[in-house]
Every structure is written in structure tokens, then in C-alpha cells.
Amino acid sequence: MSAKLAVGVAGVWLLLAAGPAWAHHAFSAEFDINKPLKIQGTLTKWEMINPHSWFHVDVKGPDGNVVPWLIEGGSPNQLIRLGVTKYTLRIGTEFVIEGYLAKDGENRAVGRNFVLADGRRLFLGGSSPGADPGK
């Protein structure tokens, strides 16, 4: 929440600022606030698991080598309730991930945003961005 908005919101809603803190864990304990990243990759596997889903992504480096990354995302339960299934997201889907690198420096990050090639955000609006019309 931006500082401007926080000031504008009435006191009764201030509790909401703690929203992400209610989540399963303190993200800044696992990921490095000082290491924001933006990577482009191809989905190789999506683990729809709790408490956080994990996206396995192949990222091509400047030297042409492909490096596997693991990206943490949200609990899949609400997505399933909104009609998203494991078939919704096609293996091979390309997206850009903005997030923060893991503190241990491994190729792991929290996916702050997943942005598809056409600019849409992954799952935003409960749509099926990678849906195969044949399924």
C-alpha cells in the first residue's frame, strides 16, 4: 500500500495494511528486499500446492544457457474455486516475473507479478490465460 493511500484511508481500515502479514509467512524472511529481479522464462511445471504454489521456470541467460528457476506464488485453493485447474496453465507458457530473490542466493524468488506476453497478469480476474481451447 502506498504511503499516500495509507494516509488517505480512514483509521478503521488501517488493519488492512497488515494484509500480507496475515499470510502464511513473513516474505521478507525468505526473500531479499534489496534484490528485486525481473526475469523472463518458460513454464516447465506448476506445483499447485499449499501453503504456496511453485512455478518451475526455465530462464535463458545472456550466454544462451537455460537455467531453471523456482518462483513462489499464492495458495491455489481460491484459484481452483474460481475455476482455474492444473490444465489452465499450459506448460511452455512464457511470462515475465517481477519479484525478489531468495535470501540464500539460489535461483529462487517470490513472484511479485507474473505478466504474460500480451501484458495481462497471470490469473488476474479468474480468467484462464494459458488455457488450451482444446481442453
Binding site: 500500500m1 502506498s2 504511503a3 493511500l5 484511508v9 480512514a10 483509521g11 478503521v12 481500515w13 488493519l15 488492512l16 495494511a17 494484509g19 500480507p20 496475515w22 502464511h24 509467512h25 513473513a26 521478507s28 524472511a29 525468505e30 526473500f31 531479499d32 528486499i33 534489496n34 528485486p36 506445483e47 500446492i49 499449499n50 501453503p51 511453485w54 513462489e72 506464488g73 499464492g74 495458495s75 491455489p76 485453493n77 481460491q78 481452483i80 474455486r81 474460481l82 525478489y100 531468495a102 535470501k103 540464500d104 542466493g105 517470490v110 511479485r112 507479478n113 507474473f114 500480451d118 501484458g119 495481462r120 497478469r121 497471470l122 490469473f123 488476474l124 480476474g125 479468474g126 480468467s127
Partner: protein, 348 residues
């Protein structure tokens, strides 16, 4: 919402109207997808009598959510018990927008995945709009009463014990119970909405009511008889619970809690009374009273509308997929190593 509506709703103490809060585009450069359709259609509340299960219990069965934007305690700058419908809608819309708002890059608040992308902001989950300004209904100021001296001493001792244990990332045991997938902070009892997946299933059988919590699939199978309570030395995460019917209301009384949970600072001897009353086809009025003289001079009570939602509940196998726990500890060790190396360089 008017007094007349209150009366016509036949709901004493709570007012519930289904609201669907449209998603707010997160960033201007992103083309928003089609809005999510309401999972729960809007309905007009009207007088309603609960159907009966085959064995004659008022029927509470089904899937429910206690999602809410209403805070447990009333904000200090709010002096009334109820918002008008207009105020409540405006506040809820603002709260939904705040949840979808981008955080400032480089701040702690920004280090997480976007909840809106995963449907985890509360407005996408659907909720009953509660006109109350706080979930707490008693005392009338809507706030938890001041702690007794004994309660304060216990809280200080707990804080001191935590300090002695070291940093949260020093050992698995130092991390919060929810991070360790043992019990979610707000799943209770008493049951309050957490950040997401605030879904419950109630199943009734002769002599029993079962309440399943989606988060960590915690379950209470509540006997409806007067069997003896567990001995004092047996303590359970969700207490020792017994239920009974008082007319249309399921009353569940719980004791034998553990001081590892300490709801709002309560002692392990907290006596919790929960009341479930189906006040409409799609609404359960959930009330609870916390009685713990070791912590508060007087009992206090809260009330939350539960709205019918769609099922089934989905698996939440928390511990099995909890990579975050190991990652957090590994991250802390890596940071310590870096700090030690930096210190060695300086000393050279």
C-alpha cells in the same frame, strides 16, 4: 441501511447483505481481464426458518465463509455501532481497492506475490457485508477490555521467554505456529477470518456436528451430549469442546486450551462459548464469548456473519508443501555467513 430493513431482515444484531466488490485494475499498463462473476448472487434477506436434519437438528450444513473487512476491534475514531449501508459499501470498496493497490517497490510490504492475481484478496472471495463497525459487540465500545495485571504479567513473561529463544529464524521452534503449519492464527476457535481461504464446511450426524476449516483442514467433531470433560492436565490446540442445542442455536462450550495459542493473550483456562444460528437460508450468525478472568475482568463477545459459499473445500496440505519454512531458515543461515565474512574482512 435503515432500521426498517433491520426489522424486515429478521436479523437481530447483525445486518447482512451480499456484496460483490468488483476488482480494481492493479496497474495502468496492464489490461484488466474480464471481472470475476459473483460466486454468490445477491439476495434479499427475508424471514426464514431453518430446515431440520433427518434427526431433527436445525440444519447448519453446507459451505460457509466468514470473509470480512470488519475489524475485530472498533477503530478509535469511530464512535457508532453501525455504519449506514452507504458508508459500509464505500468502506468495503475502499478496502478492496487498498488490497489491490500496488505496494511501494523496495519496501517490506512489496516483498510478496500479488494477492489479487491468485484471487486471495477478500473481495474476490465474496463476503457478507457487515454494517457493524467492529466484530466485538460487548463491551459496547467494541474493543477488547483492558488486560488485568495478571494478564499483563503473563504477556510480559511470554515476551521474555520468546526473547530468550533468540531470533525467529534461529530454530524451527521459534517460527510462528502458522508458518510451521500447526494451526492458523485466526482459525481458532474462536473462528475469525484470516487473509484468505476462509472457508468452512459443517456436517451434522445424529449426536454430532462436524466443523471443517479449509486452512490446514482442521476439524472439530463436536459431541452433542453431556459426556465428562477431559481432565485439566489434557490440553488441546482447539480445546475440549461439547455442544448442545438451545432452540435454533448450536451452543459449543470449550475449555482445556493450551497457552501455546493464547488467543488475544488469553490464558489456557479460557472458557469459550460459541453460538451458531442460521438466520437466513444463506447466513449463519456466529457469536462467541471469551471468559477468562485471568486475563480480562469481564467476558467479552463478538459476532460475525457467515455467508453461504460454494463447495467443496479443497485440500490444504500445508506441512507437505511447506518449502518456505526451509527456505526461510536457509536464507537466515546464508545471511549470517555473509555477515561473518564481512566482519572478517573488516577485521583484516
Amino acid at each position: 441501511m435503515t432500521r426498517r430493513f433491520l426489522a424486515s431482515a429478521g436479523v437481530v444484531g447483525i445486518v447482512v447483505a451480499m456484496v460483490w466488490l468488483p476488482r480494481v485494475p492493479v496497474a495502468a499498463q496492464v489490461v484488466p481481464l474480464a471481472p470475476v462473476k459473483p460466486l454468490i448472487p445477491a439476495k434479499t434477506a427475508k424471514p426464514w426458518t431453518a430446515p431440520r436434519t433427518p434427526d431433527g437438528q436445525p440444519d447448519l450444513q453446507g459451505f460457509w465463509t466468514n470473509n470480512t473487512y470488519t475489524p475485530l476491534e472498533r477503530a478509535k475514531n469511530v464512535t457508532k455501532e453501525f455504519f449506514t449501508e452507504q458508508e459500509a459499501l464505500k468502506n468495503a470498496k475502499r478496502a478492496a481497492e487498498a488490497e489491490g493497490e500496488q505496494t511501494e517497490p523496495g519496501t517490506v510490504a512489496d516483498v510478496h506475490y500479488d494477492f489479487t492475481q491468485f484471487g486471495l484478496d477478500r473481495s474476490q472471495g465474496g463476503m457478507a457485508l457487515n454494517l457493524r463497525t467492529s466484530l466485538i459487540v460487548d463491551p459496547p465500545d467494541g474493543r477488547i477490555p483492558p488486560m488485568t495485571a495478571e494478564g499483563q504479567r503473563r504477556a510480559a513473561a511470554r515476551a521474555e521467554a520468546r526473547k530468550r529463544m533468540g531470533a525467529p529464524t534461529d530454530a524451527v521452534q521459534n517460527l510462528p505456529l502458522s508458518v510451521r503449519c500447526i494451526i492458523m492464527d485466526r482459525a481458532g476457535p474462536p473462528m475469525l477470518a484470516g487473509a484468505y481461504n476462509n472457508n468452512y464446511q459443517i456436517v451434522q450426524a445424529p449426536g454430532y456436528v462436524m466443523i471443517l476449516v479449509e486452512m490446514i483442514h482442521d476439524v472439530r467433531i463436536i459431541p452433542l451430549d453431556s459426556r465428562p470433560r477431559l481432565p485439566q492436565n489434557v490440553r488441546q490446540w482447539t480445546g475440549n469442546y461439547l455442544g448442545r442445542w438451545e432452540g435454533e442455536t448450536l451452543v459449543v462450550e470449550s475449555t482445556n486450551f493450551t497457552d501455546k495459542t493464547a488467543f488475544q493473550g488469553a490464558s489456557a483456562n479460557m472458557h469459550l462459548t460459541e453460538r451458531f444460528t442460521r438466520v437466513a437460508e444463506d447466513v449463519i450468525r456466529y457469536q462467541f464469548t471469551v471468559d477468562d478472568p485471568a486475563t480480562w475482568a469481564k467476558p467479552w463477545s463478538a459476532e460475525v456473519p457467515w455467508k453461504k459459499t460454494i463447495g467443496p473445500l479443497f485440500e490444504h496440505a500445508c506441512a507437505e508443501g511447506n518449502y518456505a519454512l526451509a527456505n526461510t531458515l536457509r536464507g537466515a543461515r546464508a545471511e549470517e555467513k555473509r555477515a561473518a565474512e564481512a566482519a572478517t574482512k573488516v577485521s583484516k
